[in-house]
Assembly symmetry: C2
Homo-oligomer: 441 residues x 2
């Protein structure tokens, strides 16, 4: 039916779980479409999987139980790593690259934590290590940052990049439910793992932010410098107070170039309710990117799932195939998009950032408390934008304060001083506010 | 400061208006950033402009008044066509491609109406004709469709792709203003041209939809087959009735693969208010794309303006430079993304589509009118989803009907039959409703 004008590429898949299985299914289901686009076939010649029970192999000829059989297969042009985790995935990728094979991976933890070393090996062997599927599932955000927005100096980006966390925050907000309650439901629905730490404590989001930040600014991957705070401390009350002030709370990954260095941080964030980003609900992902020329652009879609992730894995395969068919002698672009990396600009400590803040202060309902709090804030050069103080229903009343822009170090000192007052009955809840300086849609 | 490892490319710019001027400024302002990304410089060696008054030439050495001087300059690797319009832009592009120069253009009218011929010339000469900036300004939507979503068979796409029109619709909705009133303001603000026909009658949007539809489905560019309807007939009353039913009205370009063929249509459309797409206000653009594997992804940002459009022009330049530096012997992908085009699937007549419909029927306030209307709709296999009938304030009352899915041909016949009733006092307003079959975010 279709005219095949280019070389058929042989693919090996290591790991036939959710993403590997989805990739194999996509290559079968959409084979005609891919051939029309590519002028050649993509053929999966070998698969490595530990267990075969019930899996549809879609006429793949060779199945191994040892992933290194794929690495050692000389006929394979491109290896897809969908094992996940660190071991043996790291070793598989290293050896495949060293043997001159191109590699496509969906492994965000591996790229975020070992990417610098892996890209070095890829470069030495003049092969490509592609990783579009490692961030935000089917949304082509790596391509947008590295190619589509390449004419810009990126000022900042902010993303909802963990579907589980966003599902929980959306449910809490729309139904006034508490965190533990929604988490249990998310686990029942299969949106959250039995051990949900990676999602709800922000580690998964920090992996993705680390990768996006590197491509946005041309800095080495620095996962250990990315500040990470989860959503488990957010209460239905905070969401309700934020709403009263015109905000919603989202778990965001934010990367920003500031005068002092680069901010890389994952934490719950207050956003003005009318923003598009604030209206991304459920398990969806969305990334807002601000370039110095293009302004703000937003990318939204499914951030996880077998089919959406496979869409990005196969997009990398198609890119690689087009690249190999063109006769190119070298990768088209450096892995992180920059020939000249910025090794000098530091990723800032969280204490060195400036932000606006939401504070919920549990105070005794007594005359003069607000005056003491105001005075401490003023001593630390923190000015107040808005206050909510409710009628007391018990001895303790929450005082809600929105601050103007302040230094986080100053704010931490102010919080410690306020918590030391006799009138304060517990820990202060602090949530950062992201105004995007009025710039974004 | 920066290490230059690749060949410096010589660029010629034809036309120094908004986009050409913006491109020249961007290449100057972001030269360091581009060098870091590219490992080489992009140097504008020659410009052609009819008038120089007040223009900043950013140290470009050679300025011509004749655009063909750029075409004939043998030292120029890539020609940027930012003249706009048909003449002499078409001739400039044809001759440049024939001379083996790569061309980058922002000219949507030229691509939509003459692209098939131009891409043919480019292919014969093994050069690239790049056009990311021709659709949706700085949003990298061409790249997303051709590369990022290439693993998918695209089911449909729907976009707000004319900023002027969206500004007008947003103002009408948020301030209950009438069309003529807002148009006059848009002209004063510089958002609309003195002759606004291209924007408000949907021709500009139809150009962009034609291009996106071709890349989405791999079909030849068929501007003359794209159904085009403007926004000048929409009233503040329609917007208000739609709102009462839970909808807003947006001017959309929709391309869809159906069982019978391909739908390509630009028209005002009712959208459920809670959708992200419905919340894109002002001069913003947004495109929602549905792939068979990835599901729905949304791309939003500035669809026009010197800097946003220049961002896309220079993204094409950077792609081309990376491509040339890689040693590639041929373009990486066919211009419209498909090696095998679908020349057979027809673009459908508007009468052959199926949609849901909003009808505003001006009727005499008399017993039995609604029964007659219902009967005619039933005769044409059209079922009613919702009705609003207000108390009469004059002799005529508007009856608002939302239908379930119906054939447009049947609907047209029903409208003619209803308009022929004695009880109907004028033309029926018909606006299509887009439910996206519940699939999109």
């Amino acid at each position: 039916m279709s005219e095949v004008v280019n070389k058929t590429l042989n693919i090996g898949i290591c790991g036939l779980g959710t993403v590997g299985g989805g990739t194999l299914a996509l290559l079968t289901d959409n084979a005609d479409e891919i051939r029309r686009r590519l002028g050649s076939d993509i053929k999966v010649t070998r698969i490595a999987t530990r267990t075969l029970d019930g899996k549809d192999l879609h006429r793949v000829e060779t199945v191994s139980s040892d992933v290194f059989d794929v690495v050692n297969d000389v006929d394979i042009d491109i290896l897809i790593e969908t094992i996940g985790g660190y071991d043996p995935a790291l070793d598989v990728i290293k050896r495949a690259l060293s043997k001159g094979k191109h590699v496509v991976t969906a492994n965000k933890a591996l790229i975020a934590e070992h990417g610098n070393e892996l890209f070095e090996i890829a470069q030495q062997n003049k092969v490509v290590l592609a990783y579009e599927s490692s961030v935000a599932g089917g949304i082509p955000i790596i391509k947008a940052l590295r190619e589509g927005l390449a004419a810009n100096s990126i000022n900042w980006l902010a993303g909802i990049i963990n579907g589980t966390g966003n599902f929980i925050m959306t449910e809490m907000a729309s139904k006034q439910r508490q965190f533990e309650d929604v988490l249990a439901e998310a686990q029942k629905l299969g949106y959250a793992e039995a051990d949900p730490t990676f999602d709800i404590e922000g580690i998964d989001a920090a992996h993705k932010l680390t990768i996006m930040g590197s491509i946005a600014f041309g800095i080495p991957l620095q996962f250990d410098r990315t500040y990470t705070e989860g959503i488990s401390q957010i209460t239905a009350e905070d969401i309700s107070y934020a709403e009263e002030l015109g905000y919603c709370i989202k778990h965001l990954g934010i990367a920003r170039r500031s005068g002092k260095g680069i901010e890389m941080r994952v934490h719950p964030t207050l956003l003005t309710k009318s923003r598009l980003l604030a209206n991304v609900g459920g398990v969806g992902n969305a990334i807002l990117v601000h370039g110095n020329k293009v302004g703000a652009t937003l990318y939204n879609g499914a951030g996880a799932g077998a089919e959406a992730t496979a869409s990005a894995v196969v997009a990398d395969l198609i890119d690689l195939s087009r690249h190999l068919n063109s006769g190119a002698q070298a990768p088209l672009y450096p892995a992180l998009g920059y020939w000249e990396m910025d090794e000098e600009t530091p990723v800032l400590d969280i204490e060195d950032i400036e932000a606006e803040y939401y504070l919920r202060i549990p105070a005794v309902d007594r005359v003069g408390v607000m005056a003491k709090i105001s005075s401490i804030l003023q001593d630390h050069h923190i000015s107040i934008e808005a206050v909510i103080q409710k009628e007391a229903i018990s001895e303790t009343v929450p005082i809600i304060i929105l601050t103007h822009t302040a230094q986080e170090k100053q704010l931490n000192q102010a919080i410690a001083a306020i918590e030391a007052l006799d009138d304060i009955t517990g820990k202060i809840t602090r949530i950062r506010v992201e105004p995007f300086h009025g710039e974004a849609t």
